[in-house]
């Protein structure tokens, strides 16, 4: 395959310009479901980052060994192994966060953002570029998760990472940490980002 992007573009495009959640609208299930606090968002983002990097690395390493017909099943096997490892490590190190994330850790397997990067990129690219791409996409996912979690915890609980930020007189908007708050927050961020984009386009 002809190289059309530079390594830094491989890394950077996932973080912002092609952000998996905010631009590509992938991985919305965890982005809506577990972002009610910054700590949960961070743990989910890091677990996904780990799974994505590990899978991309392995898929890219084995890309010439895996027959075309069974590539998807092999990718899923690789991804599922990394997810199970992440699950066990999280349970051993941070049982509280593991409990809070519940079934969603296992569901990283079906995050189409991860399978998408394997099929679209890692399976066709050398190891270094695949890893850069995975790191960029994983970091982009983490950024989006923190944007969601930060706003929701701040408005819904008056805290950030558990520290009181808005003071005792702040009346928390409980709805923000409940499921509807996930949709509201995602909608607000998309509104803001698209509005900025449009303004930038108009200026040109």
């Amino acid at each position: 395959m002809k190289q059309t992007t530079t390594p830094s573009q491989d890394l950077m495009r996932g973080i912002w310009r092609e952000n998996p959640v905010l631009i590509q609208m992938l991985g919305l299930c965890p982005a809506l479901a577990v972002t009610n606090t910054v700590a949960n968002s961070l743990a989910m983002g890091l677990a996904t980052f780990f799974v994505l990097c590990g899978s991309s690395l392995l898929v890219s390493l084995c890309r010439k060994l895996i027959p075309h017909q069974i590539r998807i099943s092999t990718y899923i096997l690789i991804i599922a192994s990394f997810v199970t490892i992440a699950d066990m490590v999280l349970e051993a190190l941070t049982p509280e966060i593991h409990k809070a994330l519940g079934a969603f850790i296992a569901l990283i397997v079906v995050n189409c953002m991860i399978l998408g990067r394997q099929e679209a990129f890692a399976s066709k690219q050398p190891v270094g570029r695949a890893l850069l791409d995975a790191m960029g996409t994983g970091a982009g996912f983490l950024v989006a998760m923190l944007m969601m979690g930060g706003l929701r915890e701040l408005l819904g609980n008056g805290t950030l990472l558990g520290f009181a930020v808005l003071g005792p007189r702040y009346e928390p908007w409980i709805v923000m940490i409940l499921p509807p708050g996930g949709f509201l927050t995602l909608g607000l961020w998309l509104l803001l980002l698209n509005w900025l984009q449009e303004r930038k386009a108009e200026r040109k």
């Binding site: 075309h68 069974i70 490892i85 349970e91 051993a92 190190l93 049982p95």
Partner: protein
């Protein structure tokens, strides 16, 4: 796209990938299992102290051949008997489980056999639907109902709670709420008489 791979190669690749995945998981499991067990033991102890309202001490009793005994029996069902500062029993903490909506729900509840009322309830393990079924452990209003409730419990639609033994179920999580109630009722039906007869 490429030429089709031979069946042998396909089977070989999948088998090798499966074997590698298996080895990796066994290795990580071995490495993390002791820590996970320690965490669970600590969580259980915290839960016992919570449902018995911080007893001065507690001891473990085992159900062997239809009676309660302090002798260790690793496979037997067990209860934890809390005592206050004077050594008087304050109640029992019982761990029980049954299948819920998604997976087994395991919980612990405190029970005072003298009044036949509950002292409290905490869910130890569940994978109920986030946002609905998981309210059986996260919703303070639901969890709080189990303090001082008379037994056997009776589930009623949310907001209809009137009598001492009634528990408001969670709207949209009927199966999960009913599971909690049934776990406690079944455990008490089985072991309640033994606990009342205990010294």
């Amino acid at each position: 796209m490429s030429t089709p791979a031979s069946p042998g190669r396909i089977i070989g690749t999948l088998a090798a990938a499966g074997a590698f995945a298996g080895f990796a998981l066994v290795f990580v499991h071995q490495a993390t299992a002791p820590r996970i067990a320690r965490n669970k033991a600590a969580a259980l102890e915290r839960a016992i102290r919570e449902v018995l309202h911080d007893p001065a001490s507690y001891d473990t009793l085992y159900f062997v051949d239809g009676r309660l005994t302090p002798e260790t029996a690793p496979d037997a069902a067990r209860v934890y008997r809390g005592r206050d500062a004077d050594g008087k029993p304050v109640g029992f903490a019982i761990v029980a489980a049954r299948p819920g909506f998604q997976d087994t729900v395991r919980l612990i509840f405190g029970y005072d056999p003298r009044t036949r009322r509950l002292l409290g309830m905490r869910v130890l393990e569940s994978k109920e639907t986030p946002g609905l079924g998981d309210k059986i452990e996260k919703d303070e209003a639901f969890v709080g109902q189990f303090e001082g409730t008379a037994t056997p419990l009776k589930g009623v639609p949310a907001g209809k709670r009137a009598a001492d033994e009634e528990v408001d179920m969670i709207t949209g999580a009927t199966i999960s709420s009913r599971t909690v109630i049934r776990i406690i009722n079944e455990a008490l039906a089985r072991w309640g008489p033994l606990l009342e007869a205990a010294p």
